[in-house]
Amino acid sequence: MMKLSDITKVYGKGSLEVPVLHGIDLTIEDGEFVAIMGPSGSGKSTLMNIIGFLDYPSSGTYELNGEQIASAKENMLAKLRNEHVGFVFQQFFMFPRDNAIKNVASPLVYAGVSRRERTARAKSLLEKVGLGDRMKHLPNQLSGGQKQRVAIARALVNNPTILLADEPTGALDSNTSEQIMKLFTQLNEEGKTVIIVTHEEEIAAYAKRIITIKDGCITEDRRVSS
């Protein structure tokens, strides 16, 4: 369970201060499928970065499974990212010279998992996302949709509680987008907390809870009954 209380984020200093988030209160239970929506500049990506331990809030508290982590040091944040969060980005972000297996296994390198174990886990996840026949391919030998599947497998490799996706279908055509979103839905049904940041209604429609942000404030938080 994630509990954000009165989270603010201010970029810059002194007269150049730009407030991005104004006192966000948000609780996300384990196993939820949440879409965070909003126009560009609304602060939705900043909120996602804070939820995913990529950034510090300027003030407020953040509890993960009952533990307060708002004042955690950078090394602590790196550990939290490694253990609790799997990221999926719009631009995929692959290691261009590593094959699919190595890309998927990369977070395990920092978790100190043995090579044999890393390869085994990466292979089984690639099977799971439907890339069993593309394991030795380099990123530039894969299509956009396939790259995003590799990225999802990589996000899952540490067995995180939260799957965070920032515009995961932003660079994909509608057909591929649908496949990727079905994969997220499947993962959510298997118990993962999925949080997707998007500005597209069709993508948000897959989620069970849609949070809308505008000018750094939550303006709407509705649950979709399926």
């Binding site: 970065n49 090394n75 790196a78 253990e83 972000f93 010279r97 920092y110």
Partner: protein, 401 residues
């Protein structure tokens, strides 16, 4: 992530930018190769010069006359005092002196039957044979009486014997012609010259030095050498002998001196050390420049790989891991450069040894120092770029275009 993983990432990164890596390493390669070759040549030269200067006649020391001009006068004409057999007797009685070698030199055209050739003549006394361990193979050595009586007798060396006399002919008692004057051959001695210095065209001969003085008009004793009974005390014995001679001759504007071997050795060592230091510092500057090159390319690499760093941080890499990765990359780069430099130095040393009289050899110690030093350069100049990489914010790094 362990060191081995970082090392593999570093190697592949170097391999992926082959030309850039080679160019970056060049400074380190040249620096390390230069340092090692220069140290190798320096050591080789030192050893060779020491061997040449001090290995032969280690227990013999030259005594020479030194003119000291009186106060206020500088460039006056001066003459060396005459030395005689009595002075040699005085020197021979100095404690620690085993023998005294007093010689003078002459040069003459020798004729025997149809053979003619130039001869290098050394004027000696009876003591010469024992002091220099001259082996007389035919006939006899010179006696003291030959000098006292101005006997016109000579010993020829084995080279001259081969040139002027037939194998079957007995040279002893033969009258030879030297500068149109007759001399009697009384002996043949084994040429003490090492094989490579012998000139088959000319030979050498020994003659009483009084005879040389009389026939050629030079002084009876031109070179004076003292042989010490204990090689360890050669310098002290030489100095004592020189001082004794100075006192005995009652000299006012001059003195007898010796060359001090220890001074020579010290001077030589200082000179070589200084030279090594000088060229070594030039090589050091080359290493410094190379290090700056490494730092520069590492900074470029950090900028180029900003997104990779951001991604690594997003998937859980800590600052330390990123720092270590870039540090290992720069250490690998410089160590590789160091190794190539050592290889180059080894080849260079072989070439130097092959084509010059100097024996340059790359010692294992210098290889170890070379590698550690280049690794150290990697650490020093890799620290700043690695630190920069580790401090990147993951969000900004991922957003970097």
């Amino acid at each position: 992530m362990n060191i081995w993983d970082s090392f593999k990432i570093a190697l592949s990164s170097i391999w992926n930018h082959k030309i850039r890596s080679i160019l970056t390493m060049l400074g380190i390669i040249i620096g390390v190769a230069a340092v090692i070759i220069i140290v190798a040549i320096g050591q080789g030269t030192k050893k060779q010069m020491t061997d040449e200067l001090f290995s032969t006649d280690k227990n013999a020391i030259d005594i020479y006359y030194e003119y000291i001009p009186p106060e206020g006068e500088t460039d006056m004409f001066w003459e060396e005092p005459e030395l005689t057999s009595e002075d040699i007797q005085t020197l021979a009685e100095v404690p620690g002196v085993k023998a005294v070698v007093a010689t003078n030199q002459g040069w003459g055209m020798m004729t025997h039957d149809d053979e003619q050739g130039e001869m290098q003549i050394t004027g000696v006394g009876a003591e010469f044979f024992r002091a220099r361990d001259i082996q007389v193979v035919e006939g006899r050595a010179l006696y003291a009486a030959d000098n006292d009586g101005l006997n016109r007798v000579v010993l020829i060396d084995t080279i001259a014997r081969g040139k002027f006399f037939k194998e079957s002919e007995n040279p002893i008692g033969a009258i030879i012609d030297l500068n149109d004057n007759p001399y009697k051959v009384v002996g043949v001695y084994e040429s003490p010259l090492p094989e490579q210095f012998r000139n088959p065209e000319t030979g050498e001969m020994l003659m009483p030095r009084t005879v040389i003085s009389m026939m050629f008009g030079n002084r009876e004793i031109e070179q004076l050498q003292v042989i010490a009974s204990d090689p360890e005390n050669i310098s002290e014995t030489g100095r004592l002998a020189a001082d004794t001679l100075t006192a005995d001759k009652g000299l006012e504007n001059g003195q007898y001196s010796t060359n001090d071997f220890e001074d020579y050795e010290r001077e030589l060592n200082t000179m070589i050390s200084l030279l090594t230091l000088l060229i070594g510092s030039i090589a050091g500057i080359s290493l410094l420049v190379g290090g700056i090159g490494v730092m520069n390319i590492m900074l470029v690499s950090v900028t180029e790989r900003t997104r990779e760093i951001g991604l690594r941080k997003a998937i859980g890499a800590t600052r330390r891991k990123i720092l270590l990765q870039f540090l290992i990359e720069s250490i690998t780069l410089t160590s590789l450069g160091g190794l190539i430099g050592i290889g180059l130095a080894a080849v260079g040393s072989i070439l130097v040894s092959e084509f010059s009289p100097i024996t340059a050899s790359v010692s294992p110690l210098i290889v170890l120092i070379g590698v550690s030093f280049s690794a150290l350069i990697g650490i020093i100049f890799g620290l700043l770029p690695a630190n920069k990489a580790s401090k990147l914010s993951p969000i900004e790094a991922l957003r970097y275009e």
